[in-house]
Symmetry: D2
Subunit: 434 residues, 4 copies
Amino acid sequence: MQTLAKTESSLDIFEKLESEVRSYCRGFPTLFAKARGYTLWDAEGTAYLDFFAGAGALNYGHNHPALKERLVRYIMDDGVTHSLDMATEAKRRLLATFDEVVLRPRKLDYKIMFPGPTGTNAVEAALKLARKVKGRQTILSFTNGFHGMTLGSLAVTGNGFKRGGAGVPLTNAVSMPFDDYFGDATDTAAYIERLLEDGGSGMEMPAAVIVETVQGEGGLNAASFGWLKRIEAICRKFDMLLIVDDIQVGCGRTGTFFSFEPAGIRPDIVTLSKSIGGYGLPLALTLLKPELDVWSPGEHNGTFRGNNLAFVTAEAALREYWSDGALEAETIRKSERIRTFLTDMIEKYPALQGAHRGRGFIQGIACGAAELAGDVCKEAFARGVIMETSGPSDEVFKLLPPLIIDDEGLADGFARIEAAIAAAVAKRKGSERE
Amino acid sequence: MQTLAKTESSLDIFEKLESEVRSYCRGFPTLFAKARGYTLWDAEGTAYLDFFAGAGALNYGHNHPALKERLVRYIMDDGVTHSLDMATEAKRRLLATFDEVVLRPRKLDYKIMFPGPTGTNAVEAALKLARKVKGRQTILSFTNGFHGMTLGSLAVTGNGFKRGGAGVPLTNAVSMPFDDYFGDATDTAAYIERLLEDGGSGMEMPAAVIVETVQGEGGLNAASFGWLKRIEAICRKFDMLLIVDDIQVGCGRTGTFFSFEPAGIRPDIVTLSKSIGGYGLPLALTLLKPELDVWSPGEHNGTFRGNNLAFVTAEAALREYWSDGALEAETIRKSERIRTFLTDMIEKYPALQGAHRGRGFIQGIACGAAELAGDVCKEAFARGVIMETSGPSDEVFKLLPPLIIDDEGLADGFARIEAAIAAAVAKRKGSERE
Amino acid sequence: MQTLAKTESSLDIFEKLESEVRSYCRGFPTLFAKARGYTLWDAEGTAYLDFFAGAGALNYGHNHPALKERLVRYIMDDGVTHSLDMATEAKRRLLATFDEVVLRPRKLDYKIMFPGPTGTNAVEAALKLARKVKGRQTILSFTNGFHGMTLGSLAVTGNGFKRGGAGVPLTNAVSMPFDDYFGDATDTAAYIERLLEDGGSGMEMPAAVIVETVQGEGGLNAASFGWLKRIEAICRKFDMLLIVDDIQVGCGRTGTFFSFEPAGIRPDIVTLSKSIGGYGLPLALTLLKPELDVWSPGEHNGTFRGNNLAFVTAEAALREYWSDGALEAETIRKSERIRTFLTDMIEKYPALQGAHRGRGFIQGIACGAAELAGDVCKEAFARGVIMETSGPSDEVFKLLPPLIIDDEGLADGFARIEAAIAAAVAKRKGSERE
Amino acid sequence: MQTLAKTESSLDIFEKLESEVRSYCRGFPTLFAKARGYTLWDAEGTAYLDFFAGAGALNYGHNHPALKERLVRYIMDDGVTHSLDMATEAKRRLLATFDEVVLRPRKLDYKIMFPGPTGTNAVEAALKLARKVKGRQTILSFTNGFHGMTLGSLAVTGNGFKRGGAGVPLTNAVSMPFDDYFGDATDTAAYIERLLEDGGSGMEMPAAVIVETVQGEGGLNAASFGWLKRIEAICRKFDMLLIVDDIQVGCGRTGTFFSFEPAGIRPDIVTLSKSIGGYGLPLALTLLKPELDVWSPGEHNGTFRGNNLAFVTAEAALREYWSDGALEAETIRKSERIRTFLTDMIEKYPALQGAHRGRGFIQGIACGAAELAGDVCKEAFARGVIMETSGPSDEVFKLLPPLIIDDEGLADGFARIEAAIAAAVAKRKGSERE
């Protein structure tokens, strides 16, 4: 990799010029220069297995060749790049393909909104719409939910550190216990129902419930399908909208295109982002049942809601991977491998005090001692694996490889991660002994 | 344009599948397929002069060849596309170039934050930071200011229709009269100072003032440089931060790179987006004085804050256009042509009851009868010009061509726009006669 | 009662001139003219047993002779009536007596604040102080708590109908489950602790917890002493203030002067009103630990905080009833009579599907069919007893006689109430049969 | 005054037991024991002329003999003292008399609400009702307005020190410039109209405007009648309710019963408190146009809304003073004396840099050097006059004698106040010389 060798590999310039708010570059302290599939290379040419996948934005891996080909052709042909919400050829194709490949096979008739190309835009649009439709102001969200960093999304996000950044009270939202939040004896859905029924509970009737089926940032808490059905039933009973935020775990991360499919629920609004662009390009969608489409033109907008390069790669990815069931089947098969690996690790390394978390291609281990999760990630990076923690105390290390990873890649990753676990555990034992 | 001929040109699919929230596709009802420089072509092959420039996101025009070449090469080389906030080669270059070409020549030492790739992300980050630094909650914003559609940005935006979309009270912000808001007799800066000095005014001391030097969405109101200096002085006097939102009128739209340069002020925080990406790709920056960089790592973040394709084109655009003063000089020269054209129009068509608005490459005419502005835009579209209205009652038609437009393009545009004005005025007179 | 006979007994004038917001006059539709002890007479001379006692404001009955004598003498002597917060003789005596009779014997060293003469003023002052002391904004309150009707107090009140009256979002408060809210299996104190410990729970760390030991308006829910101690411990652990709102159940209503005494807790702030004035005159106190007295002079105030007539009767009542333990002992003894009566009723009238609620002189029966409680009160009124419902669905009928009621009065009341129950139950059975 | 001689005159007990929030007792540091008419006596027997009148709560002076006689008779007869909102004889009489003496002669048909016996309760009720009627959340209030210390009222109060006590953001209110706030050149009513007309002003359409005709706490700013009519017209134009807070300057303080009568406006809602009780006893009323009476029963309430002793004295005061025009005429005549005195003082003591403020029996002098106002009050107290400052910087000293003061009392007060002014001015000159 000659060209790379010529680049300056130092991170000095980031320290000097970039704000202290930067974070991942601290955990993965090298200068990345090239990427393909599930591999990243730094400027020195060192390769890394990517078990983070852009926090779920790279389900099809880096720089997928088929998508790349489509993307470059579009650029070379001077296809429209930036279009606000004018009609373009690329957008037309994406709409048609999403309808054909995603919606119709699942008997869903959502209308599609382009709220601006980040997840938090999609969530803000969903919350606005729910409040408009129902004429109510409160949104019911869940402990350890994560929905974004702008003020509306932050108000329905659980993380106290993130919330604290707002600098103002976060209002018009009420946080309720997620599935299994408070032990087996407490049915959190029944608890929520009790509060909604009780005119003296102090909870205003919410316009909507917003929920992730697997809480990616919040510690890989996977809601049971039964609980999700209960939440949907509560929404129907109290005339609230059900919003599923599928930004991180949609687009196949749990196997099915939408994460909520196996639960058999029909959300009123769905937010998608991250991997919907296919290639890692900014894109977000808010899907809404047709009868909810009470928007006035321009009532929500954004300069980059017409990011046509992402339309092109999004459409290509849908064609490539969702025209048939192959990816879904493979993802489910490999998910089992991941599950087996993690449960083995828990058994083999009791010092982890590990508990399995998550489902599909978003699984991990919650460590009894929170620092261990960070140590595992550090050791993994030293062994060429990019992997992150999750949870309110960063107590979970999580595996989010791209869906397109092959069995060799998985096996390679597992081997390195086990070595990282062993090293982290050993280091910890050592420090305890001292 | 054979390939285009083959595409389906109908807009039916947008009506069927896209949310009612879509707006520009209603004003420019055709299917766009190709773009270059200041020209867009639709699927039928009809060409349009682009006097809207992606609402200011396309200062260098569509699909600029030099940028395109750099972009395609980067993609072909498998440069990292999506990186969250990990260090990448493309980001390193952008940081270094921004420092070299923009900051150092202007003796500015801002630190650079990547808050997520839309303008509203940049604003939300700015507001969070100001509140954190000052430990106060209120932000002072201005009548007819526009800062974005997520909840924090919307609270400092003036437009009632946009605000109404929130569905909840917009709090912790106070709206003050912009320069020249209430006639010559009232000095709005002095009025603001009076409220801040008066312990009984009912205004909490703000953490910061957020201001656009030219209010793009709010009606092309251009603040005088003297007023901007007054606002800066008031910020210093009352220990508030000064945030300039240069998302729409920065990156050379008014001639200088930052719109505030000729006013001689030094904002504490600057937001950039739209044209900073160079090629119309999603990117946003929040610039902050180094002493304000009290962020904790990850206190604000976003999945697409590492949009490397935009880093590449942003860096290329800075190199191409800001290494010397040529673009600035040309922009200023052509701005005078625009000004002359518009003042001529006002004189020639008294039925417009026109008032000149704006400066640089963001000028327009406020029409005495608000509907006329929309009519002019409709007639312009019929004559192959894409152009939009602005202002609280859409009473301003505005000219925002790309900065790279040549004199022929301008002349062509002017001719068509004059024809559109004439037609709109004639139509109006006709309808009044009936 | 000759004079009364001359008065106009019609309620027409109330219907014509008084706002629709009036309520109790609808449930007790007669014109009251005279009162003494536990008896009220209407303009026709009909006597009523008062088992409502001004919603807890008349613990010493109506127009207590000893207090009356003191009050009239003070008025005749031209003692200061209205004094804002200037020092007066009457206030001096009240301060000294409250210290001597209430605080010192209980080894409490609260400072005394006169926040304005209604309960909600006392609560608003408590919330302000807690927020100031802790520099935090959230207050933790409980399901079915009631703290007042002004905006700050309403935000910590559970009742949805009352909350709805605000017309704006009620913010900076979080409602948590009261003791025994969700069945035996769920320890609500542990649940609250879990949320506070969990950095991802979405709950901002509160400045304070506000709690009633018995929820008077919320359905006579009596917290167990163990739970109250748990809540106090949680306050200590998380550095939150503990505010006990003893407005309704303080001043001896549960036997002891403060309702929290038997629980062995030491609140940081205590609010008192209702019976503290002794004679039914408006008065409220906010008690605070000396180290919390960080108020600036005048930071909270109110025109009638110097209601000297109430100071006189308050002082007289303290002297009369709290210099020794006689009232406390009698209240506890008679409370057992009330309890026995109510449990007998539950057993004897299974159609009530009754559950016993409350303690001390604030006990009642929660009826399986909510309407029954209202029917019992209506029938009671027809039999000369004034009595009210409580609870989110008005499903509880409650007995709040004055503490000074004698055994004959109790027996008389019980007999009439049983007759009312029997009638209500019979009526219901009749209507079910049809 | 033998009995007084026996009392303890020390203020130690207040310092020891009462919260630091106490304020007036610091400015008037003596123990008051007796009061009649416009005179207060302390425990030592020293007499003070009361030019503060309970901050406007004692328009008829202290312990008015006719009212006292009625009050004592009612108490001796065991009239109902505390009644919540049950119908009582005393309340019936008050309603009938208020209708007969106040409403009907003025052709007003307000319905009467008893919102709890303090001014802030009346304001909170007014704001709730306005929001309910209009279905909007914002209230428009004015710079230097004062409406109370509970959270809803505080949000429409201008004073920053009082607002700061809230400890949370005060929301759903917007503060606008009062009459004459920003010099002659700026018509504040026109400015407000401009903001309301402008869809981009950032101001949500308010449910109501709340205004004092003379801002008692805010510096005795008297709105011109023309401006008040403008504000009323703006309310009609934009379908907002007009709330006049007449708590301090109603009940004859400016001459007419309602302060707004000479302006010829018809508010939708009026709040009354302070002197409405006649004798200084807690009472407050919210008056509302009949068509606004959309309250549900009990939607707003309060334990002491049935303070019958205040009903008795309120009714007696209305009969005594408002059955004919004598008090009004006398008040107007004496107001001119006060005005003449103050303008004389301004002329005679140029060191005051005085500006006349207020009208009727609420007039004062705004001092160029803010501390002077406090000094005048201190010197006045030393000369046996009780008098207070006002305004955001306490820069105004104000004369609020009881309306019943005779000419001798006024003359006596003027003489002492002039001496106080002379002393304050001399002291200041002395300190400047040093």
